[in-house]
């Protein structure tokens, strides 16, 4: 198990990442704004899961259950976007067209 100090260190890292995501959002980086924001969020989630939720010290079975929720979420995203991203023309165009005049 972690020591009290290590927990505080992780907390400091989480707040540091919060500061980073806020500051970087104020810089124009094109498509990288989204990439960075999501990468930081994933890192923060990983830290919380591994240490605050003690996943790091869990058996393989717990890992399977942790991953199952995420994988199923990705299935939902992936197959829904398989529709939206392959519709002809830009997305808003399609949506508006169906609405009618």
């Amino acid at each position: 198990m972690l020591s009290k100090k290590a927990y505080i260190g992780i907390w400091a890292a989480l707040l540091g990442l919060l500061l980073a995501t806020y500051l970087l959002a104020n810089v124009r980086l094109g498509p990288f704004n989204n990439v960075i924001a999501l990468a930081i969020a994933v890192t923060q989630m990983t830290l919380v899961a591994l240490f605050f939720m003690h996943v790091r010290y869990e058996k393989a079975l717990t890992w399977v259950f942790v991953c199952a929720g995420v994988i199923w979420l990705l299935i939902m995203f992936n197959f829904t976007l398989a529709d939206y991203l392959t519709r002809p023309g830009p997305l808003h165009h399609i949506v508006n067209n169906r609405v009618g005049p």
Binding site: M1, L2, K4, Y7, I8, I10, W11, L14, L15, L18, T21, Y22, A25, N26, V27, R28, N33, A37, L38, I40, A41, Q44, M45, V48, A49, F51, F52, M53, L61, T62, F65, V66, A68, G69, V70, W72, L73, M76, F77, T80, L81, Y84, L85, L91, H92, V95
Partner: protein
């Protein structure tokens, strides 16, 4: 002091088995919660892909200060929760109880800030419907609809977490837990961290879209 024997339900053979079952149950529940919120994230993704400009414009009207403070509050409450479990494992239940109370206080602080923010959003006519700000495009209403529903559902989870934490604090005060048995505290910790994780995603998705372009 806590009696580990009395905590064992009759259909289990031994305490570790019962604890493992509770933990597996909690993780299963969290997996369902991931998909519960995931549905909203799916709605967010599709609509943001369809209306990137409207979403960015709408996002600039969120109160980023409150959002950032709240993120910090929740991340800190994750720490106090973890420290509470840490203390319980070291059989320091007095300290553990104090950390639980601190977590409750942070949860309430989050809700208070959220309430102020809601108040301001409402005054800024960011409530979708006929009184929505006319200077924003129609699709901005989709963003704000998602904002209210996502943060609303999340707040309901925070409220539930605070209520459960109150019960946990009471159980600690009554001396129900020990270093060997404090499963309810651990399970609440998992739930609380999950609520934290949801907010970690809500923060950039709702408050930070193209923040650099905001005046």
């Amino acid at each position: 002091m806590a009696d580990a024997e009395s905590a064992l339900a009759e259909h289990f053979e031994e305490l570790p088995q019962q604890r493992d079952a509770a933990k597996l149950g909690m993780w299963t529940f969290i997996a369902t919660e991931v998909l519960f919120f995931g549905d909203l994230f799916m709605g967010y993704i599709v609509n943001r892909l369809a209306y990137p400009q409207a979403f960015a414009l709408a996002s600039h009207h969120t109160v980023v200060l409150f959002g950032t403070i709240n993120t910090a509050i929740l991340l800190t409450s994750g720490l106090t929760m973890a420290l509470s479990i840490h203390a319980a494992r070291a059989d320091n239940l007095k300290l553990s109880g104090r950390f639980v109370l601190l977590t409750i206080a942070l949860g309430l602080a989050f809700l208070a800030v959220k309430g102020l923010e809601y108040h301001e959003d409402f005054h800024e006519h960011l409530w979708p419907g006929s009184h929505f700000r006319p200077d924003l495009p129609a699709q901005a209403q989709i963003f704000w609809f998602l904002y209210w529903v996502m943060t609303g559902v999340h707040s309901v989870h925070v409220i539930a977490g605070v209520l459960v934490l109150c019960i946990i604090a009471w159980m600690i005060a009554r001396g129900r837990f020990s270093a060997e048995y404090h499963t309810p505290l651990e399970m609440t910790g998992l739930y609380w961290a999950f609520v934290d994780v949801i907010w970690i995603y809500l923060y950039p998705l709702l408050y930070l879209i193209n923040r650099y372009a905001a005046s």
